[in-house]
Symmetry: C2
Subunit: 207 residues, 2 copies
């Protein structure tokens, strides 16, 4: 499992000529780092003098961020599996008409799964961006730069996952499926750019 | 060493209440993932039919990206060490005037080092952004989304490292030192935003 690899080994695997892990896994790790840094700010705010009023909010944000960190870390592997399924489908025999049809169906099915995984990554990263606003507003000022890194990592994970949605969606024939996913993606992307800059400026003004 | 930790352990350490690893290490990992993905696109372009003309460029970019991946991976640790030095300096005794003066000097020295490390991270991430343009232009189209993730990861690493420059610079008394670093940082940031969007659009148009 990738998440059991050392950071060093993962970076080596990412750089290698192996098709996986690739950008989809890097996107999930960026999202997971964003969620982890939200947790860090919560952990360094809870119980600290001067932040008593934020206690309840920070507890709630922490619980949510920890769930998301686990889900995003698992997505590193899910992305690899989805990509490997697409490759396996392309590798199916295509000697007879029946084989060609079966192969085509398998490719389409695998591409849909390989579009759903990064779209799910987009949704989770968007939630990490939203949570980073809470910690940027109410978190311990001494570690406020970590709230800024959280939002940047989560938003970069989001845009990166979006690229993986686009590349897989381009080869999907079911246009209704594609249009639904792309319009959801556009809605998320639009709101997130402004929110990311808002959180970044909020942090920068506190430094 | 952090880079020998598993990805899962690193994410857990990032989320914990321990002050390190924090945003500075996350910034270095984003930069290292950016460099690694540049390498990946090179590795999947070299020797491929239709990309013979790009062979020389891709070899040169690959060599550079691999050096940068190593340097950025080492910076994960360097950032932790620099931060720990600052904490150690703040922890020095301050009972006598002589101790106060020595502590003040040690803090200033440690803060300067803790500013240089993320600034170096900024410079390396900026180079990763530049390299990602080469692979977005000349790399294998089948993995062009990875060039897009490369630029997003490198730019997020750059902006994240910048936050760590700002937070440490704010407490440094040597204003000449600070102004020199901040003006270099501003110059890099200004050019990189436009370049990142250019590379992102270049990739998106090829999907």
């Amino acid at each position: 499992m990738i998440k059991d690899q050392s950071v060093h080994e993962f970076l080596g695997a990412l750089a290698s000529k192996a098709a996986t892990p690739g950008g989809g896994s890097a996107a999930a790790i960026m999202g997971a780092m964003g969620a982890a840094l939200v947790s860090m700010v919560c952990n360094l705010t809870l119980g600290k003098k001067g932040y008593e009023a934020a206690e309840g909010d920070m507890q709630a944000v922490l619980a949510r961020a920890e769930t998301m960190r686990e889900r995003l870390a698992d997505m590193v592997r899910a992305d690899v599996e989805a990509f490997d399924q697409v490759m396996a489908a392309y590798g199916l025999p295509k000697d007879s008409e029946a084989q060609k049809a079966a192969r085509g169906d398998a490719i389409q099915l695998a591409l849909k799964a390989a579009t759903e995984v990064p779209l799910d990554c987009v949704r989770l990263c968007a939630e990490a961006v939203v949570l980073s606003k809470s910690v940027a507003e109410k978190g311990n000022k001494n570690v406020i730069s970590d709230a800024g890194v959280a939002v940047l990592a989560a938003y970069a994970g989001l845009r990166s996952a979006a690229l993986n949605v686009y590349i897989n969606a381009a080869a999907i024939k079911d246009r209704t499926f594609v249009e639904e996913r792309l319009s959801e993606l556009d809605r998320i992307l639009y709101g997130m750019e402004a929110l990311t800059e808002e959180v970044y400026q909020l942090v920068k003004n506190k430094l």
